[in-house]
Amino acid sequence: MTDRGIYEDFSLVRRRARVVFLAVGILCASALVAYWKIQILDYKKFESMAVANRTRDIVLPAPRAILTDRTGAVVLADNRAAFKASFIRDNTRDEAGSIRRIAELLDLEPGIVTARVEKYKSWPRFRPIVVKDNLSFEEVARIEARKNDLPELIVETEPRRIYPHASLGSHILGYLQEADAEDLKTHPEYLRPGDMIGKMGIEGEYNGRIAGVDGKLVEIVDSLGRKQGELERVEPRPGPKLALTIDFELQVKAEELLAGREGVIVALDPASGEVLALASYPTFDPNKFINRFTPEEWLTLVQNPDNPLLNRALQGLYSPGSLFKPVMGLAALGTGVVGADTTFFCGGAVEIYGAIRHCWNEAGHGSLSLRDAIRYSCNIYFYQLGRRIPIDTIARYAGLMGLGRKTGVDIPGEKEGLVPSTEWKKTTRKEDWYPGETISVAIGQGPLQTTPLQIAAMTARLSNRGKGIRPHLLTGESGALSGEPDSGIPGWAFEQVVEGMWRSVNEAGTGAPARVEGFQVCGKTGSTQTISRETAERIADGTKVKKTHSWFTGFAPRTNPRIVVTVLVEYGGGGGATAAPIAGQLFALYKQKHDRPRTTPGN
């Protein structure tokens, strides 16, 4: 074989190879430029993307503040650890498949999981969506076992609210619910989807203080979202323990006394405005609300015609009935319409403006002064006052006693009540006020509406001989009312009214069942028609509707009063028959408690 290479000219082929090599060289150089661009020029951008890639922020929820009674010894709301399962959409590429697997693993309807995901679909995909809470240990173990093939499902721990005394004080404490869209909008600084927020009561009013400050955990995660380590940890700060003004023993007693009825008991300290007991029946167990996912129980509560969620003490509107008579008395004495010893004659009935009006006692009370009119709750006496005092004057005195406006109690939802006036009638009913209507108002009927808490605050003002207080439930809150003008009602007028209330309880008056030996209870009963007398007579079988609401409000002792008790029992019958004895038991308990020799001196 000859070696052709020696004779052949390969220069053309070699030149072509060199051109290709040149192209390779240029491409290598441009690759270097490309790397320079992203590693040097765009370094900052990619560096921050890398950090975001590998870390995950986890919120460590702060336990809610512990709530106690006034002594700090009885815990009314506490926390314990609970587990919840959350779905991180970012950790899966097949969302529908994940939902199916999660539902299967947790024995849930796939529709429930889908609904949860749908609800929060606008949130960033890395945010965990709670799909089930209150996991059992068995469920936690099941999720942990599937950690590697289900990285999108994680177990989070959270402190869970617990109310050790179940329904006790539920209307004071309130309850928790998952924050809704509205809440999230109003408190973006501390609320995240899935958070529980206080609704109603102390939990609602002081949510910001009770919630505490959440902690933060920055985790290092791999591409599947599996935890590889911790980068930063800020421990949560629980809200500071809060003591309510509630006297635990009185509260328990009040709820015992109301059990099985519908009604309200309010007890407060007239000097400070501290609420010692506040019970509203029917009631509910706030522990039931902490579950995010049983809407059935919620519905039964909301749809219950007796409305257990209603805090009747500040949201229930009732005619004050005879409880309004002390206000009428003050108006009469204050305006000089009557003097302390002016008497009217009660013959059981009287004709006013062409209509016959009856006293509850058809035999009549004879001649009586204001003191005895209050003692016996004589209607005729007050009809006579109603004839002589214009409605706007009555309204002014009612306002001076705190009616027709909120008491300012530190739990939300309070109603204002209603004190009618000529102007009110003109603006709302477009009619003039008829003097006949004043006669109804004079015995606390007509359009007049009050809440039991207003009645309690009014009673405190009577007991203080004019000085008003602001009822409150959190110790340390102020009980003073700011910017109150001087009522101008003379002290002797209050003494006349208080004398009447004292006689009512202690001298065979209508409030006698509230009497407590040695405690100088002063009080007033009331029995208010829930429907007009004519309607009641028409409904023959109306067992409940025919009965009147039963009221009692009072304080003790007569001088330097220490406790106000207001009782309302719906459809309870006569005030003296039902409400007064309940109040009596509470006065008795209070006295016994404070007369009790102290076991620890100086406590």
Partner: protein, 363 residues
């Protein structure tokens, strides 16, 4: 087969550069597999030993002999690959992996070098300044047969690697302006037709994503974006060996094969990239320089086509992971993990050394 004079002519510089680049690859593979015990790096080390054996086997047989056998090996491979299509097991959606022993082998990697030999043989006696239509058709047929089988697997990336062999050979043989124009027209038509009829949706998506990677960061754009984040966050000096967070935390896909250069960028920064790019370019340059040292046309073709196919894979990979080319499964020879790729590369470089060491020999 091999005498002492030829032994002295072995291009030890090229051998050293080849081994050096293989060791860089080993280091990177160790880094990505360190968390799981470094098993892949050990496997790659064993493959390297096998590859060196292949290298010495390659140079010990005269390249003319290799070329003489090339058509038979070529036909054997075609039969083998066709059989694989029928009976092969599927790995990652593709049927090219042979299941013998625990180490997989990919015959199409070796097939590339066999096609290099076949094309060199076709053009060995071709002396005209420009390739005729007949020669072009023959070249297309020679490359088309294995490529067709590979596309049926389907393995788009590996099939792509035959392009530089075919067009390298044609460029060397000479293409007239008219031929280039016909090729360009054909490419446009094929491109349009391919887009309309042949490309699968995921492949189209990859091309779209290259143009705008953030359009779908969780889907097809995921790989490009993650790779860019890894490289970009390496900065000038990198995060340090074994300290790459994006690769260590598995944000990077196929870290040990297609994205091994991204691991380099993340852990060793722009400095590391520059150095390794320099090593690799030195190796390629050494191969291209060998083109001028060949004593015959066959040797020129063998050397040039081997250099072209390695350059092509390197450039495509390096540009693809920074988002300048669409993502296709093309590993970097020597740097990426893979036994058959390593064997094929040492086989190719062995042929280059073979040609150069025998430049004075009269056979």
């Amino acid at each position: 087969m091999i005498d002492r004079a030829q032994l002295r002519e072995i291009d030890w510089v090229l051998v050293a550069l080849t081994v050096l680049n293989s060791l860089v690859g080993l280091l990177l593979i160790y880094s990505v597999s360190a968390a799981s015990g470094g098993g892949l790096a050990w496997k790659q080390l064993i493959w390297m030993a096998a590859a060196l054996a292949v290298f010495f086997l390659t140079i010990s047989i005269d390249y003319k002999m290799w070329m003489a056998f090339a058509p038979y090996i070529y036909i054997l491979f075609l039969i083998f690959m066709a059989a694989l299509l029928l009976f092969g097991r599927t790995v990652a959606g593709s049927r090219s992996w042979i299941g013998f022993a625990s180490m997989g082998g990919q015959p199409s990697e070796i097939a590339k070098i066999v096609v290099v030999l076949v094309l060199a043989r076709i053009f060995a006696e071709y002396r005209a300044s420009y390739a005729t239509t007949g020669m072009i058709a023959l070249s297309f047929a020679a490359v088309g047969a294995p490529v067709g089988l590979i596309l049926l697997q389907p393995d788009f990336g590996t099939a792509m690697c035959f392009m530089p062999i075919l067009f390298g050979a044609l460029i060397l043989a000479g293409l007239t302006k008219k031929t280039v124009a016909v090729f360009l027209l054909g490419a446009v038509i094929a491109g349009v037709a391919g887009w309309a009829f042949f490309l699968k949706d995921y492949q189209k998506k990859r091309i779209e994503v290259m143009i705008n990677p953030s359009q779908d960061p969780r889907g097809a754009g995921y790989h490009v974006l993650q790779s860019q984040i890894a490289i970009g966050s390496g900065g000038l000096t990198g995060k340090g060996f074994l300290k790459g967070t994006q690769s260590g935390l598995k944000f990077l896909p196929a870290r040990h094969t297609d994205f091994v250069f991204a691991v380099l960028g993340e852990e060793f920064g722009f400095i590391g990239i520059t150095i390794v790019l320099g090593f690799y370019f030195a190796m390629l340059a050494r191969m291209f320089r060998s083109v001028g040292k060949s004593r015959d046309r066959a040797g020129i073709y063998v050397t040039f086509l081997a250099a072209a196919v390695i350059s092509f894979q390197f450039l495509v990979n390096v540009l693809m992971i920074v988002g300048l080319l669409p993502i296709t499964g093309i590993p970097i020879p020597l740097l990426s993990y893979g036994g058959s790729s390593l064997l094929a590369t040492y086989f190719a470089i062995g042929l280059v050394v073979n040609v150069k060491m025998r430049r004075f020999a009269n056979v």
